[in-house]
């Protein structure tokens, strides 16, 4: 195969924008498509869980795992 020829071949500006445009539209459509509708999960949870927030309890007292510095 003439590899050099491949590199030499120039992509038309118009083709480039058409391809890129189709790609972007495809991307957009795919992102919007509700794939969840295709799920068929027996144990599908009824609702989305609330967002859990990880917070340290400020009143709790941490310590070393071992050692003398433990009160």
């Amino acid at each position: 195969m003439n590899i050099q020829k491949l590199f030499v071949k120039k992509l038309e500006r118009k083709d480039f924008f058409i391809s890129a445009g189709v790609g972007l539209v495809g991307l957009f459509v795919m992102r919007m498509f509700p794939f969840n509708l295709l799920l068929n999960r027996k144990h599908k949870s009824k609702e989305k869980p609330l967002r859990a927030t990880v917070r340290i309890n400020p009143l709790a007292i941490s310590r070393n795992k071992l050692g003398d510095n433990n009160g």
């Binding site: 295709l38 799920l39 144990h43 869980p49 609330l50 859990a52 709790a60 941490s62 433990n70």
Partner: protein
């Protein structure tokens, strides 16, 4: 299968040399299907074509079939993949957090009326691992599998997240705390003189009890009922009758030279397992052979304790009274005064009893001799399920033999915290039926599932106008409730506990509530005060301690400093010393003259589930998937019966039988258990949940339906059961035959290839080198000997201490992000646990001896897995580790095929997604993962790494502190969790270390040593403490 089995019972125990090792009946009877299956790399059916319809919802095939524009889809999908969380730096970093470094909090975990001191490891605020609190006087750095697994409950995606209120149509709708507080407070205030029944489990927190007392003051009709399905009530009641006061004491297991366990699983489920296992193992020290204990076990079904017995005999549980009385008589004949009327004792004869019930007369003779010879240093321990007369007879025996020296009278019960009696429950049910109960508050309990069906609780409770369930997740009782209030997880809650005289355990929240939950005490306090505020229970707890407990402690520190110190240590010593044991009240012996009701038909013994407890842990995947310590069954309970009983019933394994006790019936599959007593059916409770999360719902069979409020033998033992074979079958999944170390060409592979080496204490005394003489040291090799001049990591496992409990497996799961795979995958040998406890039987199927051997990657110097990996994904480190590079692994599975120990695990699926339709893929579930360990996905091989992340952490610390890395700086997860300290880890080049002694111990051997792969795990051979010269 049962036809093949001849009952070989005679009255003599077979000799020690009878060591044909086997793991299952198929192996014992050389079943062709088993032999054929062993030749296959994978289980039958594994390589069958996929049935697309049966694949999980989003399979790759379905995905590709639906979408042709794959490039666009990939781009779209990659931009929104699961777990693409953002990494955001702290704006204000909490003072106690150093990024990448864990924080530890001491706290307390309460289970089954006992308190366990725990140490919770958190990373960036989220708890990820639970171990024992080394400062806790009972736990001493160890904890239970259930406490370790509790962390999964914290991140259970199905936890209730906000209050629910039942509508008139019977559905639950979301509500707010403000709303439900108002409605419930109003209803309680207008209760009109009716009773408010609070149903709780055993309360061991003095402050929780005070909250309930305050609630009773505010609402005068409030009454507390408490139950604990598995409890020590019979033992305690017998103790009070014998000694006047107090509870059954704790036992100095470490000082006992002879232990006789009667239907007792003190190493498994009876009492404080953490404490008793640790102390029992202290008495199995090979460096102190003069004090090496001897365990006799007489039980109906092979238990964890029975696995570890030096002598074990099988006896149906309803015959224990007759056995103990026969033993009392025999002891009295040997000149020990027991104070029982001879006319009573003459009814019993030990050797006649042995003959009648196929017990070994020679072993009983040795037992009697041992008990007399070791007066004051022996303990006879009756299981908590045995009836009161057995307990009294056992107390008498211990008293007569002077064994009370091994009691420590330090167990206490808080005032007004006793469990409700059967008549209390009957009265409650009657009051509910009469319309005298205005409200039921389920205080973190599930009485609908737990209480005996013949009590009529379920029908009666439906007549109560207000039912409030305080619970973490929906359960059978919350279904009937009008309000379901979500309570905080124990790791989000404050608390205290007292079960011993000498200390209080402190509980603190290591994380703020993840959801809109309150801890159960806060809910009551809000109804008492009519006004909820944040930290309401924390303030209450502090005030109660300041005003009531702190003044009794004679502390030098002011209260605030004392309080911070108490939370930091997780325990407060009271300085109180144990009381002395009172005088034995001989009048109680009249109970021994009451013979039991007729013993006929089949005995049914209901036991606490090793994994699921009373059902509380049914939704915990780690515990459900932990192989049963004896049968290795996962994800189910079953009716365990003996070989002869199976033959008599004409049933095979997996056949479903129907058990009938009066009008109570249960259909359940059968497992034939070597070592079971004939005509005895043992079933573990805690399964068959009809309402819980997706992990546990419908798993196993609900045997609670067999429980009755009135049984002559107590709530757990029933007699005169009838059995019917239904003709149906059920798939029971066991890991017993999975990953066998095998060579189809060698018969008796365990013995021939020296997989297990063991002996007796007297063998060792006679010839300390007897194990070394059995080893086959073939050092011929094609390879150059590798030198590891620096630190070289190794492990030793002392089989004298390992009880086979599986704590190490759970710990490894938590530390190394090992997924739960589910029953369907375990069935085809795809469980992912990096450790397994191999259990070998030897001897006859009726009365086998048992050998245990934890098996994990042996980190061989000449690792056969490394040679065959085409991409060098598994290779050797310069500190002697056999490493896995997950990113390189292309999943050929050659390594697994070439591993002689069969310890490698392959991810056939992305199990995060595959199990229970993505249960483990929830964002919430992600919080449980150890950030130091990669979460593996489909197509990757994995195995034990010797906790390399812990090695790296220790190395970093050593470099930072400018000191050399020592072997003792690293503690692996399994080692840390091992309740008996059977596992040791360290640097085998450090000849001054403790580990070096184990590595080079006289009893040390390697598994499959003749392969000369130079493993780095040393096993210390098990010594049975038998009378080998006499037996």
């Amino acid at each position: 299968m049962a036809e093949n089995l001849d009952n070989q019972n005679n009255n003599e125990q077979p000799k020690e040399s009878d060591s044909n090792y086997w793991q299952s009946f198929k192996e014992l009877y050389k079943d062709i299907s088993f032999t054929e299956a062993k030749k296959l790399e994978f289980q039958k059916g594994v390589e069958d074509e996929f049935d697309v319809d049966k694949l999980p919802a989003v399979s790759r095939r379905k995905f590709l079939a639906l979408v042709s524009a794959s490039a666009a889809l990939a781009a779209a999908g990659c931009s929104d993949y699961n777990g693409n969380g953002k990494i955001i730096p702290y704006n204000t970093k909490p003072e106690e957090i150093t990024l990448g470094k864990p924080n530890y909090y001491a706290s307390t975990y309460v289970d089954n009326g006992l308190d366990y001191g725990i140490l919770i490891k958190t990373r960036e605020g989220r708890p990820i691992k639970v171990d024992g609190n080394p400062d806790h006087p009972v736990s001493k750095g160890k904890t239970s599998a259930k406490a370790q697994s509790a962390i999964l409950g914290l991140y259970d995606p199905e936890r209730l997240q906000q209050p629910l209120r039942k509508t008139t149509s019977g559905n639950f709708m979301k509500s707010t705390w403000q709303h439900v507080d108002q409605e419930i407070s109003k209803s309680l205030s207008n209760i009109g003189g009716k009773e408010i029944s609070i149903i709780s489990s055993k309360i061991i927190s003095p402050t929780t009890l005070k909250v309930i007392q305050d609630f009773q003051q505010k609402y005068s009709g409030a009454k507390l009922y408490s139950y604990q399905i598995f409890n020590e009530e019979i033992k305690n009641s017998a103790w009070k009758k014998c000694y006047g006061s107090g509870l059954f004491p704790s036992i100095k297991w470490n000082e006992a030279k002879i232990i006789l366990a009667l239907e007792s699983d003190f190493l498994g489920t009876d009492g404080n397992k953490v404490e008793s296992s640790r102390m029992f193992a202290e008495g199995r020290n090979t460096s102190d052979l003069d004090n090496f204990n001897r365990l006799y076990s007489i039980e109906g079904n092979l238990s964890l304790t029975g696995l570890n017995a030096d002598y074990r005999m099988r006896l149906r549980p309803d015959l224990q009274f007759e056995f103990v009385m026969s033993l009392v008589h025999e002891i009295s004949k040997q000149g020990i005064s027991v104070g029982v009327d001879p006319s009573i004792l003459n009814q019993y004869n030990l050797y006649d009893f042995a003959q009648k019930n196929s017990l070994y007369g020679n072993v009983l003779q040795l037992l009697v001799g041992d008990l007399i010879k070791n007066k004051g240093a022996a303990i006879i321990y009756a299981g908590r399920s045995l009836p009161e007369n057995v307990q009294v007879a056992v107390n008498l025996l211990n008293e007569a033999l002077g064994n009370t020296k091994l009691y420590t009278q330090d167990t206490i019960e808080l005032p007004n915290s006793s469990l409700s009696s059967t008549s209390d429950w009957e009265n409650l049910v009657q009051s509910m039926n009469n319309g005298e109960i205005g409200a039921i508050i389920n205080f973190d309990t599930n009485p609908v599932y737990h209480l005996p069906s013949d009590l009529g609780f379920v029908e009666a409770v439906k007549k109560v106008p207000l039912i409030v369930s305080l619970t973490e997740s929906e359960n059978e009782s919350s279904e009937l409730a009008h309000y379901v209030l979500p309570i905080s997880h124990p790791f989000e809650s404050w608390g205290d506990a007292q079960t011993r005289l000498g200390y209080y355990s402190m509980q603190q929240p290591v994380i703020s509530p993840l959801f809109y939950t309150r801890q159960k005490e806060e809910v009551l306090l809000a109804w008492i005060s009519g006004n909820y505020k944040e930290n309401i229970y924390h303030d209450y707890l502090m005030n109660y301690w300041q005003s009531t407990i702190y003044p009794t402690l004679n502390e030098m520190l002011d209260f605030n400093r004392f309080w911070l110190g108490a939370l930091q240590r997780g325990v407060v010593n009271t300085g109180n010393i144990p009381k002395s044991v009172g005088n034995f009240n001989k009048e109680v012996l009249v109970i021994l003259n009451q013979n039991q009701s007729n013993i006929s038909g089949y005995a049914v013994f209901l036991k606490e589930g090793y994994a699921t407890g009373d059902g509380k842990y049914a939704n915990n995947g780690w515990l459900q998937e932990l192989p049963h310590p004896v049968t290795k069954v996962t994800w189910d309970n079953y009716a365990s019966i003996s070989v002869a009983t199976a033959k008599q019933m004409n049933v095979e394994e997996k056949d479903i039988i129907e058990i009938t006790l009066d009008d109570r019936k249960l259909k359940i599959p059968v497992v034939i258990q070597p070592g079971s007593a004939d005509n005895t059916i043992t079933i573990e409770l805690g399964y068959g949940r009809s309402k819980c999360g997706v992990v546990g719902q419908g798993v196993g069979f609900n045997a609670n339906v067999l429980m009755s409020k009135s049984s002559a033998f107590g709530p757990w033992i029933y007699t005169s059961a009838s059995i019917r074979k239904t003709g149906d079958t059920y798939d029971i999944v066991s890991t017993m035959e999975h990953h066998p170390i095998d060579d189809p060409l060698v018969s008796g592979v365990v013995k021939e290839r020296k997989i297990i080496l063991e002996g007796t204490v007297s063998d060792y005394k006679k010839n300390p080198k007897f194990i070394q003489e059995q080893r086959s040291m073939d050092t011929a090799t094609l390879y150059n000997r590798l030198d590891f001049p620096g630190v070289k990591w190794g492990m030793s496992i002392d089989l004298n201490k390992c009880t086979g409990c599986g704590e190490c497996v759970i710990s490894c799961n938590a530390e190394n992000n090992i997924p739960v795979v589910g029953k369907d995958q375990v069935k085809v040998s795809r469980e992912m646990q990096w450790m397994r406890i191999d259990r070998y039987y030897s001897g006859s199927a009726e009365d086998p001896k048992v050998s245990l051997e934890p098996m994990l990657c042996q980190q061989c110097d000449h690792a056969p897995c490394e040679n065959v990996c085409p991409v060098a994904a598994t290779n050797h480190s310069n500190d002697g580790l056999n490493q896995m590079v997950y990113n390189r692994c292309v999943g050929t599975r050659y390594c697994s095929n070439n591993c002689p120990y069969k310890v490698r695990r392959f991810n056939f699926f992305n199990f995060k997604d595959h199990f229970r339709d993505g249960y483990q893929e929830s964002n919430l579930f992600d919080l449980v993962y150890n950030p130091e360990v990669t979460v593996r996905s489909r197509g990757v091989m994995e195995k034990c790494t010797f906790c390399i992340q812990r090695i790296m952490e220790a190395r970093e610390d050593a470099i930072r502190d400018h000191k050399p890395l020592k072997g003792s700086d690293v503690v692996t997860a399994c080692q840390e969790a091992c309740g008996t300290s059977a596992i040791n880890f360290g640097d085998m080049n450090d000849d001054k270390s403790e580990f070096y002694k184990f590595r080079n111990h006289e009893l040390g051997y390697y598994v499959l040593e003749n392969l000369n792969v130079r493993p780095n795990v040393t096993y210390l051979a098990k010594l049975r403490n038998t009378h080998s010269e006499e037996a």
